[in-house]
Assembly symmetry: C2
Homo-oligomer: 133 residues x 2
DNA sequence: TCAATTATGGACTTTATGTGCCCATAATAA
DNA sequence: TTATTATGGGCACATAAAGTCCATAATTGA
């Protein structure tokens, strides 16, 4: 039961882009260097963010990534779901058909965490950060 | 990012024991049959609960497991920590030394979930359950 | 005391997933 | 056209979860 490193990379990348000059493109090379991760691996993660509609990419020389217009409303939870999926953290598997009380409690617990993460907007957190560009 | 099946088995076992006649011992065989899991695997999980001080075991014929005296105060979170450990769900690993804002947000989120689980006492949940002994 | 029963612990296999790399392909700019 | 950059498939490695097998210890009952 751990958040993946991929989620960590995704969150850091999004916050970095939030502090980066808007509309300016930045390549996966530079993003990868900052986080000390291989560009090939990071690019897989970025592709997921593209498909989730959070960032957009441009191929070719001087290409790269940048945030999409609606980025100010993107929350930590959105990023996490884009990388890890949105499935419940707890599967009961027993009690086929009938509802499981354990499951209900666990799902409620998970919702407490998600409600919090839903309110952590990238734009708000980025303001609090000191990013060295 | 998933809770393990082991945690599921542990929670179900604890709730079953809570609905079982107190002081009466029940063997791993019967507990395993209920949950459709192999007795050898379940016994590893039960040993963790014993070491965490939640249940006690007796070897030999007619031996088995039962709750310890303080069981009414045991929460879901206690059981989860006994099985999965108490480490944070999120490790930043970057920003050696300096604090990471992403890490702080994630830890806060985790605490929201844990605060909820801390208040879900086995005794309370067991009351709401219909267990067929 | 002996045999049956039950938990404990070590070592192992299997399976799944995360992490990371390599290379071919597509798209774009100079 | 060539250099650059993203995309995608496939492969390899590491790690952890899930589960098995067997030896050992403890306890009960005959």
């Amino acid at each position: 039961m751990k958040f993946s490193k991929a989620t960590n990379y995704a969150l850091h990348t999004m916050l970095f882009l939030a502090a980066f000059p808007p509309n300016k493109l930045i390549g996966v090379q530079q993003l990868a260097e900052r986080q000390e991760v291989s560009p090939t691996y990071l690019s897989k993660i970025l592709t997921k963010l593209v498909k989730a509609g959070m960032i957009e990419s441009t191929s070719g020389a001087n290409g790269g990534y940048r945030l999409k217009r609606n980025w100010e409303e993107i929350s930590f939870l959105d990023v996490i779901h884009a990388i890890e999926g949105s499935a419940s953290l707890f599967d009961c598997e027993m009690n086929h058909g009938s509802e499981c009380l354990v499951q209900k409690v666990m799902v409620s617990a998970e919702e407490k965490m998600e409600d919090f993460l839903k309110n952590q907007k990238l734009s708000e957190i980025a303001k609090k950060m000191t990013v060295v560009l």
